[in-house]
Amino acid sequence: MRAGRHGADIMEAVPHAVIEGMIIGAYCMGARRGFVYIRAEYPLAVRRLRTALRQARERGFLGRDILGSSFDFEVEVMEGAGAFVCGEETALMASIEGNRGMPRSRPPFPAQSGLWGKPTNINNVKTWASVPLIIGQGGDWFAGIGTEKSKGTAIFALTGKVANSGLVEVPMGTTLEEIVFGIGGGIPGGKRIKAVQTGGPSGGCLPARLLNLPVDYETLAQAGSIMGSGGMVVVDEDTCIVDLAKYFLSFTEKESCGKCVPCRLGTHQMRGILERITRGEGKLEDIDELLALGETIKAAALCALGGTAPNPVITTIRYFREEYEEHIKKHHCRAAVCAGLVKAPCSHTCPAGIDVPRYVRLASVGKFAESLAVIREKVPFPAVLGRVCFHPCESKCRRGQVEQAVSIMGLKRAAATYGGESWRAKTRVSPPTGRQVATIGSGPAGLTAAYHLAKRGHLVTIFEAAPEPGGMMRLGIPAFRLPRDVLDQEIAEIEALGAEIRTNSRIDSLQDLLRGGYDAVFVATGAHQGMKMGVEGEDSPGVIDCVSFLRRVNLGEELAVGDTVVVVGGGNAAIDASRTALRLGARRAKIVYRRTRQEMPAADEEIDAAVAEGVELEYLVSPVRVTTKDGRLSLVLLRNELGSVDATGRRRSEPMPGTEFPIACDTLIVAIGQQPESTARLGLAKGRGGTIQVDADTLRAAGGAVFAGGDVVTGPASVIEAIAAGRQAAISIDKYLGGDGDIDERLAPLEDLLDLPPLEEGERHRPEMPSLAEGVLAGFREIELGYGADAAAYEARRCLRCDLETE
């Protein structure tokens, strides 16, 4: 009998149950000696078991002629040194015999020739402890727990990124979700679940979308994992999957007994490959080599340790291959974990690769001009981003683990506000190349591409269908978040470089452009078409999709929305629409969302701001139909409950029948998503949801001279992602036109790191963002006012300078 962690817990709690089970088993089998093999690291279990054994002997339950039955049985405790492999039964026996814990081949099986060559039966602590219960309550009772093939209960050591960790006992067949969310209380810190590793270090890693899997032997095996030692590690979005696989494999590599070649050397080579991938030295072939090695180890290893050791690698490749490829191809670790790739989590997470630590550090000493220059090295919209970026950088900021993340966005705004114009002096503009590029769309993607292409000496024309440039920055984002003069000024910088913007110019044929003298075209038309709910009455007057609503308001139309406005959706657009509605005179604005605030895609601070302005939120409701009566709309909703987790790691909403209720409104805004308008006229390969298909690395669409990027390729995303696409398009197009694609520049000198003020290590909170105090809802004045220069410098000194970490 063997005891790992949960076995130790059983022995600490009910040692007599274990002893009783062993006595019954021994009586049935005719065994005279029993052993409990337990790691010496569990002294409490050892002590309690020894006490229980002494008590059992005193009562005559152990020893000679037990209770006059002429049956003799004695139990000894063997303390092991904690080798993982000693959980393997033949290694366990070798260890009890006093030999090195190394497995041997079977046959002979322990039942034929076990300890010292004697027939031996080996079972887990939990199994033995179950015997008295089964004898007492009957086999049918036990078989009634669990599934058809996996009977009884499973015990898991639930740990990792989960609110309640500890030992969990559930009937076989319970879903992972019930364990992680029901018992474990879900993921703390508003993070998303990414995967669950079951079965300990040699188990498999199952993605969030498989959380509805019932936990039993067969199902786990099918999914590539095992029940194993009963470990269950929950990981969230901040865990790098390659790093995770490396971690588990390092463990099995070290715990391999060293006997057989595949386990001893195969795990070593696999770990080496994973090390290289996490250092950015991986090759794409490495993934196939990992799989090939993994299969060889599984097939050829002597015991189950080797036979399962590759599981974490094989399953993470099976379910998270793209993360491996990102590490290899882009040297990108989306969790910002791999030290060899990640200089600082913030800059690594920034889609445009802005050197965040550097500009923050410059801001911390009040050098806003240099700080702005650093931002400008990568993006042409510091002031815009300083106000509306969804700042993924802050979600990975290490300071966030102390109190709050550094306000990286707020510092960008400060740099843009106080940085002046000295950055422009160092801007590099190449001599004219005589090449012409057409950019379709003047959103962040198109304008960024135009900015960089113009600096590379190409003649750029930007065609914009709308009457004003800026794309979603103008048509989507309300002025109270992004004042128009701020946007206009940054667009003017791009025009100043010679890029010409033609508004009200819709392009219907790429061929016409190419024939008309353009050498390359960048399609960045965005995603401007609102999605429909697909419910009855959706086309009634007074129902409007969010994109159209915001577009019309943002182009200056004075829409009458009536008294009560309801917005369906949970994204930033829904928040913007509700806040806009209040400014248009609505007395009530209410957002209805099918899940809860935790799952809402909208940024937390945006939700807070909306709530502060009086926007109401109704969670866990789904629209069923829209009716109209006497000119008023009525939206019928159905209440939801949270169900299983979907592919994005968020819990699904599941409607509860019979919970319908109506809410009345004058305007109903549908903000459940948007997609690109039909681009069929452009004749490009179509992707999912009306998008254009391009080569992921170069953004080149079929057709040589045509490139595409931004929302029209990815579906609705963010300003910073569109800017990143614009940068990539500029690089690819410059190369296509004969340039070297080098669009980076150094606008600020590298700092003298020896001059840095000391690190602020103590607790230090983020200063509050000053905001408009009065007249918030009267018009579209900007709400957030930005940090003052001193506050910004103070905030910047909260940076922990991850990029300077030397280890």
């Binding site: 081949s105 070290k254 391999s256 007994c257 060293g258 006997k259 070649v261 595949p262 097939a299 002597l302």
Partner: protein
Amino acid sequence: MSTINLTIDGRAIEARQGMTVLEAALAAGIYIPNLCADPDLRPFGACRLCIVEVEGIRGLPASCTVPAGDGMVVRTDSPLLETTRRTLVSLLLADHADDCLACAKNNRCSLQTAAAYVGVRERRFPKATRVLPVDDSNPFFTYDMNKCILCGKCVRVCDEVQGVGAISFVNRGYDTKIGTLMDRPIISSLCESCGQCEAKCPVGAITAKNYQQPSRKVKTVCSYCGVGCGLLLHVRGSKVIAAEGDRESPVNRGSLCVKGRFGYEYVNHRDRLTRPLIRRDGVLQEASWDEALELVATKLAEHRGKFAALASAKCTNEDNYVLQKFTRGVMATNNVDHCARI
């Protein structure tokens, strides 16, 4: 002993009950690559090169640990077995110092044979960068862990055959190596320097010092003691350069002790007597065999009845019998004794 019938690669094979599949195959002239199997040692199953496919058995069992069974159907060669073996050999080669041409085991190395058989043609895994210490402390042989494949033959022969247990596997995982108690030099361990480990080592990890390949081998019996171990003396020109235990000798079945294996140098020693010497005028002088025997016979005759014989346990029983018979019958005395009379 009963025989069983099994099929290996489509051929009907007869094997003795109790043989492993590997033994049955090798006996039938079918090579299955193997590194850790040894007819003198218990099955171990570490190198996994001898994996086969057996109908009715899951996975790829190691043929060295699977008992041959009547009616068993075995495949020693399939695409899966080939790629698996090639991977295993590649893994071993990545961690093996490659100086084959300069290695003492060159041309008699099981790893070379296996690599040649499975056809490893290129370096698949990066060469290991670690350098393990070489234990040169024993006067007769050298331990070089940089060439060790951890087949465990040395450990097992020391334990199972010699009953000494001077060496064992130490550490775990990739750091596993062969070592002594507290990892001290081999000379400071329980080691009796019998060299059985060196004889069993299939690669260049344990090699006799100054080993040279012989031009011929001469079958003989060890002259050190009364056990009568069979020897194959390795001879180069007219010089004995090594001794090997004779596996065909029923006395030692290939085993040797330190003297038999490494104590051969006296054969070539310049102090060794090759002609009889007679002391004349206080000085030992060369003599003919006839002169010498004549002198011994004369002296023995002079001492009849005033004589004692001291025999040795290291002589054969036959020699000792003859000595006591001679002493009693010819020398007319019962004064016979023996050094091992405890």
